[in-house]
């Protein structure tokens, strides 16, 4: 499973993209966040921020309680600020 990070999530984790293989009990996006936060102090700092972030499963924006079974790509990003 590929995980992508954008904007300050990318800066804080220090990676734009990584391949991960979470255990079977990681079933939702929120489970994945908690699991990723243990990967490194930088991941912990990124996800530990009190700031709002969003997620997409296979490029579809989802809520944090969305299931990740069968997903190829999970992305994490701050609220959009284009325009």
């Amino acid at each position: 499973m590929k995980v992508k990070y954008f904007a300050w999530l990318r800066q804080k984790t220090g990676v734009a993209e990584e391949d991960v293989a979470p255990p079977d009990d990681v079933r939702t996006v929120q489970n994945l966040v908690d699991w990723l936060a243990q990967r490194s102090p930088k991941h912990a700092a990124a996800f530990g921020e009190a700031k709002v972030f969003g997620a997409a499963v296979d490029q579809q924006v989802v809520q944090l309680d969305a299931p990740i079974a069968g997903a190829r790509e999970i992305a994490f990003f701050p609220p959009f600020t284009g325009g």
């Binding site: 904007a7 490029q59 990003f77 701050p78 609220p79 959009f80 325009g83």
Partner: protein, 156 residues
Amino acid sequence: MAVRVQREDFDAGAEIAALTAATPRIGAVVSFIGLVRDLHVREGYHRDAVQAMTLEHWPGVTEKALADIEAEAHRRWTLDASLIIHRYGRLEPGDRIVLVLTASPHRDAAFDACRFLIDWLKTKAPFWKMEETPTGDKWVEAHADDDVAARKWENG
């Protein structure tokens, strides 16, 4: 209908001329251009000078998001043509960020659709802005105003 996500600047006059050429039924063209401001107003009162801004986006997904927003505008209004150009990369105050063009037989549709496109684009397309300020780099946070602006079109 077209969407372009690019590092390069654009020429609004040339884009307008290209959009209207060979479509003599167009009576109205509305354009919106967003520019990098030299001042960022946070929380309504805290002001930071902005020396430059870097726009990050999600290649592939951005283009699809913009095309979806554009299709929605064509579903809601009778438009003869439209164009969205959004830049990414490092931009300085006064630089152009985004161009939204809408063309229609009558002006109401062009005005409404142009405003809809920029409102939705701000909250539904994956762009992120980082500003260089005298006190360091700062990621721009979402504006509550933009959410309100986007939400007013939800029931269209």
